[in-house]
Amino acid sequence: MARCLSLAVALVALVGYAAATGNIEDQQPTSYTQLAPVKGQWDITLKATKTADKAAFEPVDCAEPKISAACNKPLLTADAKDKLQVTAALKGKTLKTIDDLTPKRVVIKACYSKPSATDRPWRKSNDVIDKDKSCPFVIKSTELNVSSTSYSIDWPIPKNMTKAAWYATVLVLCENGTLNSYCQFDNTVNKTYFGTNIINSTPTSMIIATAVCASIGPLFLASYFIKDFMGRKKQ
């Protein structure tokens, strides 16, 4: 009885924790539609290391969102060696935000292109920025510098990046009372996409280990019955 009660208390505590943490937002929800009036203030350029020696950055010049598009080749490999250089430069001298809020932070993200999110609800985009699942990778997150109008980063393609076509999004966070909220955004939709491929996730050692271990079960069965048959023959 005591064990059942303690199990019930643990269950209620877990559910209560989930209920409490599942819905807390430390930001006021904002939608892309709300930010549309202040879109278009950033020039976002993408370059990638597409040569064999990974030394030079070449401009990414592909406006086709499908991963199979010729302009998306060669795909960047998610091995932390291939790199993407993202530069976000303000077109004007100052940044205009929604409701004239004070900008504090710039976040640059990689987002799935529409064909790469089709039939995959776990990558679904949402107009409410906090509920948008289509931008899982943060390329750069930095405090906004009033004296700087350009932000750049050489981003190694991370090892957990999937096979997909992507675009870059710049989001600006502002102070809004005691909370933060998104107050401006821009992206490279219909302008520039880049494609990635996953790492080689089946090394030779894994293939050999699989072949060896997979044969153990059937071999054991075979030897068991051969031994059994030989034993019966002797009798």
Binding site: L11, R120, S201, T202, I207, C213, G217, F220, L221
Partner: protein
């Protein structure tokens, strides 16, 4: 003076001789003992069955990583889930026949050892097609249910067989919950030294290796029956090989097999569907993190630690007072309640609240899994000659129900998951009414009393022809018939005292 019955559980380690009945079956469950043959069989049984659940649902537990690694779509994920349960439909029927002829030890050995290559190969799968095919092959291992139930029925007395079956199957089914937190933990541990897309592949080596260890252990260290192994007993003619096609007929032409088969799809089948969808449902509906959604979702499967066993105990308790009629009534009431609570998951005040959803989910899991335990309190009595095949049919019905309900309510129809739960609940309530049609002439049904003059021997001997009786194929069934008189309950037992054995009525097992 008859010996008093031992308690259902004994907590000794097994130094004293096990109390046995006239069939040599154990009359108690010594849960802390690992002694041969009874308790060793019991513990290897549930551990092996749990392992098959862990392996079958391991891909589902790691799906958030696998779907990106293999570039799967929603339809690929749905088809893989269906393949995992469909594979067991045919394998359970075939396994039923196999255990009847070769015993549960060989059944488990073949299943565990021959599905281990498929689990190892999950490590090197490259795309959706390979993923679906491997889930199909791994899903064959769910035929272990048949071996599990057959083995318990062979080892434990009729008075406690419901409880033994339910505990073994319940702890086995718990694997569906265990895998949801075990596999992500394995993945996380391996990810400390390997990229995530490689780590999930290495993680599958663990359940695959466990398959080999357990399969070999069962083959080498256990036995099929209290008196020995099938093969040795048949060689010494202590057990007669029954390969007659009448074995198949005894199961297939018994309408009770089909009612139980269909309805098992609406208790165990529903449990499999919920195992497949609950983590996604919680993740999408309440925007939880994957780890939290997995932890909360695993509660459903983990409830099997006591729910299915309690279903078996309720079945045995009901039988003690009201016999088979009590088992049937308890089964109908509890499975109907399962349908009601499944329906409640789909109503507005519940699905808008995580707390309400979890409360309803926990209660739903209790009824749903108890119904599975109660089903296995009825199944051993449908046919003695074809026990394995009946278990195979019923087990296959469970997986068929899972595949059909997953396809209808959660994959191909344009229903939201909450609507899916609602209509699934309605369907469970409707299908459960079929239990009203189950009738045993010597014990009665839900609304009908036993037929006067009909005995257990009449029912179980009707599965054999006169020629088969003369060969001695019927002897085990005769012993079972004697032990199953406990299913009369106190009301029928009083009436049966006046029965004139010389006027025994011959009835077909397949008819009312």
């Amino acid at each position: 003076m008859a010996e008093p019955n031992p308690p259902l559980f004994q907590f000794c380690t097994g130094d004293q001789p096990m109390p046995k009945d006239s069939e040599g079956k154990a009359k108690t469950i010594r849960i802390l003992s690992f002694g041969p043959p009874y308790m060793r069989a019991f513990h290897l049984n549930w551990i092996a069955f749990m392992l098959t659940f862990i392996s079958t649902f391991a891909p589902a537990a790691l799906l958030p990583v696998i779907r990106d690694s293999l570039d799967l779509t929603r339809v690929d994920v749905g088809n893989a889930g269906i393949a995992a349960v469909v594979g067991a439909v045919a394998s359970r029927v075939m396994m039923g026949n196999m255990v009847d002829m070769y015993g549960p030890r060989y059944g488990f050995g073949f299943l565990l050892l021959l599905t281990s290559p498929a689990i190892f190969c999950m490590s090197i799968v490259q795309g959706a097609a390979g993923f679906i095919v491997l889930r199909l092959f791994i899903g064959f291992s769910l035929a272990a249910f048949v071996c599990c139930q057959f083995w318990c029925t062979s080892m434990f007395n009729t008075k406690i067989v419901g409880s033994a079956n339910a505990i073994a199957a319940g702890w086995g089914n718990m694997g569906g919950g265990v895998t949801h937190f075990l596999m992500p933990l394995l993945w996380k541990g391996i990810s400390a030294s390997q990229p995530g897309f490689i780590a999930w592949r290495w993680a599958f080596f663990v359940p695959a290796a466990a398959h080999i260890i357990l399969g070999a252990s069962i083959m080498l260290f256990s036995q099929d029956l209290p008196e020995g192994n099938f093969r040795e007993l048949m060689a010494s003619k202590a057990k007669v090989k029954d390969r007659s096609p009448n074995t198949l007929k005894a199961a297939l032409l018994n309408y009770r097999s089909w009612i139980m088969c269909l309805n098992y799809g609406y208790c165990f089948g529903v449990e499999l569907v919920v195992d497949n969808v609950i983590v996604y449902y919680l993740y999408d509906q309440f925007r939880l993190t994957p780890v939290l959604a997995g932890a909360l979702g695993s509660i459903f499967g983990m409830m099997n630690i006591f729910t299915r066993a309690s279903g078996g105990m309720i079945s045995d308790l009901a039988a003690r007072h009201y016999g088979m009629r009590g088992r049937l009534w308890a089964l109908w009431i509890i499975q109907t309640l399962g349908g009601v609570f499944c329906l409640l998951l789909g109503i507005t005040p519940v699905y808008n609240s995580l707390l309400a959803t979890m409360v309803i989910l926990v209660i739903f899991s209790v009824w749903c899994q108890q119904a599975c335990g109660l089903s296995c309190g009825v199944v051993p009595f449908i046919s003695k000659r074809s026990t394995g095949l009946v278990y195979g049919l019923v087990g296959a019905g469970g997986n068929t129900g899972a595949a059909v309900t997953q396809a209808i309510f959660f994959t191909y129809l344009p229903l939201s998951p909450t609507q899916g739960f609602f209509w699934l609940g309605i369907m469970v309530i409707g299908m459960t009414a079929m239990y009203m049609g189950v009738y045993f002439p010597m014990w009665g049904g839900m609304f009908c009393k036993a037929k006067p003059g009909v005995t257990e021997e009449d029912y179980y001997m009707s599965e054999y022809t006169a020629a088969e009786v003369s060969q001695g194929l019927h002897t085990n069934s005769l012993k079972f018939a004697y032990e199953s008189k406990s299913e009369r309950g106190w009301a029928n037992a009083a009436a049966a005292k006046d029965l004139d054995a010389a006027k025994a009525v011959h009835v077909k097992a397949g008819t009312a």
